[in-house]
């Protein structure tokens, strides 16, 4: 399955300018590597997430994820570690989108910048069931230099079952992560 540019950039319901900047937002086909375990359309064993920017607020990101029977921790519940995968992935989209948009606002090349996960805290507030759609939403909570703090929630049946608070670090997009790790401080 291949998603073309129209999925995100060309979606007529996606706002084309953000806030008061009046600048066209940076568009790109896919914000992650196409083999990403969370969202990579070219990863047949991945979760095949399709993150979407919220059409109303224009800045938060949403995705629906349904865990299958092979993604259990305790029987009937999503594995508590595995739940970090879609939350981290969606939060990363929000962080990357944020640093790209700031690059545009600053007159820099949005393709030259990206954000990597530094640290995160997961709280499992209630049991998260497998086999039903879970609504995930990620929102940038704070920016501090190269650091972007993102809060992500998992909602099932109007109840928040898990939260994910993460700090991402902006780095040059041509950085080979194997050479230099991010430093979230």
């Amino acid at each position: 399955m291949r998603r073309d540019e129209g999925d995100l950039a060309g979606d007529p319901s996606t706002p084309r300018s953000i806030g008061t900047s009046g600048l066209a937002e940076p568009t790109r086909e896919w914000l992650h590597h196409r083999d990403c375990w969370g969202c990579g359309p070219d990863n047949p064993l991945g979760l095949q997430l399709e993150p979407r920017r919220d059409e109303v607020d224009g800045s938060s990101w949403r995705v629906t994820f349904t865990a299958d029977a092979l993604q259990h921790g305790p029987p009937g519940r999503v594995h508590g570690g595995l739940l970090a995968v879609p939350m981290d992935c969606l939060a990363s989209w929000a962080a990357i989108d944020d640093v790209r948009r700031r690059a545009v606002e600053d007159g820099r090349d949005p393709d030259a910048t990206v954000a990597l996960t530094g640290t995160y805290t997961v709280r499992l507030a209630a049991s998260t069931p497998t086999g039903v759609p879970l609504e995930l939403r990620a929102r940038v909570a704070e920016r501090d230099g190269r650091r972007v703090t993102v809060r992500t929630t998992v909602v099932h049946d109007d109840e928040v079952t898990a939260t994910f608070d993460a700090v991402f670090v902006e780095v040059a997009s041509d950085l080979d992560v194997r050479d230099r790790p991010p430093d979230a401080g």
Binding site: D35, G73, G81, A84, D88, C89, L116, L124, V177, P181
Partner: protein, 158 residues
């Protein structure tokens, strides 16, 4: 002490867990052991499909084995306590919360060592740290809060 696998293979062969279920075809099938010092150990190898940034394990995926190994580290502490008290119940651990720090990229395709330790056992609550190490370098740290869930021993039909 024994090098027996902590995952209750004896009475729970059908454990569906993504992290440690022995028959989960998509899972990591972790096996955790505990040494004489009470430190737990496991190894895994991340595959191509666990990728995040090119060449590195997905930042969320790093949590999967650390959470699972952490749960069995807590479970071992609960079990030892239950046995010392002469309890006829066995125990499992469920995750309450955890924090992960990615201190270096975790590589794909080479053995990754997990090392777990209980830092506090307080009633039902157990605090556990887990480190992921690749080729001698710590790549990620995990601090988890787990809670005790007693189960009947030999609950073979779970």
């Amino acid at each position: 002490m024994t090098a027996a696998v902590l995952q209750h293979r004896d009475w729970w062969p059908d454990n569906p867990c993504f992290g440690c279920g022995p028959r989960n075809p998509h899972g990591l099938r972790l096996e955790s052991t505990i040494d004489d010092d009470g430190v737990t150990h496991a190894t895994w190898i991340a595959e191509e499909h666990h990728q995040g940034p090119p060449g590195a394990v997905n930042g969320g995926a790093v949590a999967v084995p650390m959470d699972c190994h952490g749960a069995w580290t807590a479970s071992a502490a609960y079990r030892a306590r239950a046995e010392a008290a002469g309890s006829s119940l066995d125990v499992l651990a469920v995750t309450g919360a955890y924090s992960v720090r990615l201190v270096a990229p975790t590589p794909i395709g080479q053995p990754l060592s997990l090392r777990g330790e209980v830092t506090q056992l307080d009633g039902r609550r157990c605090l556990v740290t887990v480190h992921t190490t690749a080729d001698g370098l710590v790549t990620a740290t995990f601090e988890g809060v787990f809670f005790e869930v007693p189960v009947p021993r030999a609950a073979g039909d779970r």
